[in-house]
């Protein structure tokens, strides 16, 4: 039977995430974007929510089980506060959750306890490559078999926390299929390059990373010998991004709604004009629709059903919707939408990321 009601536990997570977003994320959003650094309070305060330890089973140091649905409920609220903060706080997911989903028992035992400590620990994943024709299913970064292990060669971009993490989960083509390898950041052949300078997500430390004939033991292939189901990992990643797109869109829409209700022109509030009000009505409708698509994708993941199509629908709709919403918000604020004293230009820059960047978040 269909249901659209989160569990009591999930409602508590939503509330906690909402409070964190309003109290810690939003007030520091602009400064961090300007400085190009995440605010340490984001991770300190955010880690207190214990979202990740609550997703990891007891035997690996956590106290729960992973739920994509719970993650997307939280991620929407967090991203309403700030997308950069959300991606920073949830960066540990990039290693922990693929290991949890697809790792061998040894890999789980080795990596998961590091994400169950009292303090936030960074995690890094390298999927994107700096070329126009980047295709996650046809990577130029290659892993070749060598001496019972692998050698990885290639260049990646937009790797979160590459400099700060002990491990990078590197996606590479192995026998023509995309697989993932756990590579220590200090392994010979790994070079962390320049900080990326993107139009948005400026608070998030993203790096280019190159791998030159980097030797990786066989036991570090995610999933062990048989490898992993990359389709599933990509679907989980897209679902995560889509949920954050809903959060960013909601932030922009809320702001535009308040603004147009207060701003008067020609003797009455802007929002009393149909051209404004109808725009807002369309935005809230699409936000709700996007959220439902996200929930469905997450539900499919949790049920162990094929989530590829659902995740594609969710991200296809949400990324487009978030960009349109942020754009409309800028439009509704007029000149104020274009200046950095107001937050909407930041949301427009951030919202552009959803349809373009892959693999920088997961649930």
């Amino acid at each position: 039977m269909y249901s659209f009601e989160p569990t009591e536990e999930q409602k508590m997570v939503i509330d906690a995430a909402r409070r964190l977003a309003a109290r810690e994320f939003r007030p520091r959003m602009r400064d961090s974007d300007e400085k190009g650094e995440p605010d340490p309070a984001w991770m300190d305060e955010g880690w207190a929510l214990s979202l990740l330890p609550a997703s990891i089973p007891e035997q690996f140091g956590g106290f729960g089980a992973n739920s994509a649905l719970t993650w997307v409920l939280a991620a929407e609220e967090l991203a309403w506060g700030d997308l950069g903060a959300t991606l920073a706080l949830l960066a540990p997911n990039l290693v922990a959750l693929p290991v949890l989903r697809a790792g061998s028992p040894e890999q789980k035992a080795m990596h998961l306890p590091a994400f169950c400590n009292d303090a936030w620990a960074p995690g890094a994943a390298a999927l994107m490559e700096p070329r126009i024709a980047f295709d996650p299913f046809a990577l130029e970064t290659k892993a070749v078999r060598d001496n019972g292990g692998y050698r990885v060669t290639g260049t990646k971009c937009n790797v979160p926390f590459a400099l700060e993490s002990d491990w990078i989960l590197v996606y590479a083509a192995l026998d023509g299929k995309t697989q993932a390898l756990l590579v220590p950041t200090n392994a010979p052949g790994v070079t962390v390059g320049e900080r990326e300078r993107n139009m948005g997500l400026r608070a998030l430390p993203l790096y280019s990373v190159s791998f030159a004939d980097c030797a990786v033991p066989a036991s570090h292939l995610l999933g062990g010998e048989q490898g992993c189901d990359f389709d599933l990992l990509l679907a989980a990643s897209r679902t995560a991004l889509a949920s954050m797109a809903v959060g960013v869109a909601r932030a922009a829409c809320d702001f535009a709604l308040d603004y147009t209700r207060q701003r008067t022109a020609f003797g009455e509030p802007l929002a009393r004009r149909q051209s404004i009000a109808f725009t807002l009505a369309e935005l809230v409708t699409d936000i709700d629709a996007a959220r439902l698509l996200v929930w469905e994708a997450a539900w499919n993941l949790d049920q162990g059903k094929d989530a590829v199509r659902a995740a594609a629908f969710a991200l296809n709709f949400s990324s487009d919707m978030a960009l349109r919403t942020a754009d409309r918000a800028v439009q509704l604020l007029g000149g104020y939408g274009y200046v950095r004293d107001y937050p909407v230009e930041l949301w427009l820059r951030n919202a552009r990321a959803f349809g373009v960047l892959e693999g920088i978040a997961t649930v």
């Binding site: 569990t7 209700r261 929002a271 149909q274 009000a277 807002l280 409708t285 996007a290 698509l293």
Partner: protein, 399 residues
């Protein structure tokens, strides 16, 4: 606990409705489109539904035993029957809008009259008359007059776009719910619903509309001329007025949405099958910029469909639980109206000249689909409903 799994009962009903759509609707859909008004009602289909409905569609009859989610069941059925053909869907002998109005505004005695009617031997329809030639969306401006006269009411006026009036008033012993004003100067506060039985003197069909689509179904102009009805035909004893009309929209809008999404899905299914025959596969997992134009179009059609469908399912979920759903119902209708319009138009483009031809059903589905953005509140009216709510504005604040 959030869930996207349907109940077994609904899945079963969907399979049943699909078999009806394939065997009893699709083969006749083109004929009934081509000969609007020249044909009889699709009696074979109607009698089959009426006679067997006690097994498969029984849950749609008022008063029938329905486990848990009657409205959720209804939208899944209407989606599937409309996937077969939306004109046939409108010919279903079930309570529809008129019945809905009685459920929302009627007294127990009046509801029982409705139930009895749908337990009889002969297929029965109901219809609802609200719109007039000078007012559609602005239904509070209606002029049809109701005057108390001794032991009855006398109705006078002209009603437009009455769906199924011919079936309710001429082809069966059905009835019509008429919204009329007891005081033309008093606006919506004086508007009341009245029940007019088939065969009542003073009611007649003046004209059947010739339409862009939906041609298997009749849409009529109905004249009320000194139409005298008993006092007990004032629905709800006069307590529920205009708000009763509006309350029917909370369920009528997702119902209309579901029907439109049936048409849209018919288009998507057909286009995907044809493309499959041409060797085109849709690579859902590929980043958008690497897709072909056709893949993008198909994925966009499916995405938009799914978005609208989930809004519709959510509204139905609320209706079944008695959660007020005015905004959510309007959202489903806005999205579905847009989705069916765009999807059916795009379907023709993808199939080229054949898509434009009557050799395929796509051109019919495009003509049929457009109604969804027009009836049960136009797309614009539903945007107004949503906008007022999110802004906290009254009808005076946001016109």
């Amino acid at each position: 606990m959030i869930s996207f799994e349907n109940s077994d009962l609904i899945k079963e009903q969907q399979r049943y409705a699909e078999s009806i759509a394939l065997e009893r609707i699709r083969p006749l859909a083109r004929y009934y489109d081509a000969y609007e008004h020249e044909h009889e009602i699709p009696w074979d289909f109607v009698r089959f539904i009426w006679d067997t409905g006690r097994k498969g569609l029984d849950a749609l009859m008022p008063g029938a035993e329905v486990p848990d989610e009657p409205f959720m069941l209804q939208i899944h059925t209407s989606e599937m029957i409309s996937w077969g053909d939306v004109g046939f869907f409108m010919c279903l002998p079930w309570p529809a809008l008129g019945g809905n109005a009685i459920q929302n505004t009627g007294t127990e005695e009046q509801k029982n009259r409705l139930t009895e009617r749908f337990r009889g031997e002969r297929p029965t329809w109901t219809c609802m008359a609200l719109t007039e030639s000078h007012c559609g969306s602005d239904s509070s401006a209606i002029r049809t007059r109701a005057v108390r006269d001794g032991d009855g009411w006398v109705l006078n006026g002209e009603k437009l776009f009455v769906t199924s009036a011919r079936k309710a008033l001429e082809e069966s012993e059905g009835f019509m719910v008429v919204w009329a004003t007891t005081d033309p100067g008093a606006g919506r506060s004086a508007i009341r619903p009245f029940l007019v039985e088939a065969g009542n003197p003073g009611v007649r069909i003046m004209k059947l509309e010739n339409k862009l689509g939906l041609r298997a179904s009749d849409t009529a102009v109905v004249i009320l001329e000194d139409c005298r009805i008993p006092l007990e035909n004032l629905l709800g004893g006069g307590e529920k007025g205009f708000k009763g009309a509006m309350a029917t929209f909370d369920s009528a809008r997702p119902a209309a949405a579901s029907s439109g999404l049936g048409i849209a899905r018919a288009t998507i299914d057909f286009v995907k099958e044809e493309l499959g025959r041409q060797g085109v596969t849709i690579r859902y997992a590929l980043p958008r910029r690497l897709l072909t134009a056709i893949e993008r179009d198909v994925i966009d059609m499916e995405t938009e469909w799914r978005a609208a469908w989930l809004l519709t399912v959510r509204a139905a979920w609320m209706v079944d639980r008695g959660i007020p759903s005015t905004v959510e119902s309007s959202m489903s209708k806005v999205k579905a109206g847009e989705a069916v319009t765009r999807i059916t138009q795009k379907g023709i483009e993808l199939m080229g000249p054949l898509g434009y031809s009557e050799r395929m059903m796509l051109e019919k589905w495009m003509r049929d689909g457009k109604i969804i953005d027009l009836f049960e509140g136009t797309g614009q009216i539903n945007r107004l409903v949503i906008a007022r709510r999110i802004l906290g504005y009254s009808g005076r604040d946001l016109k």
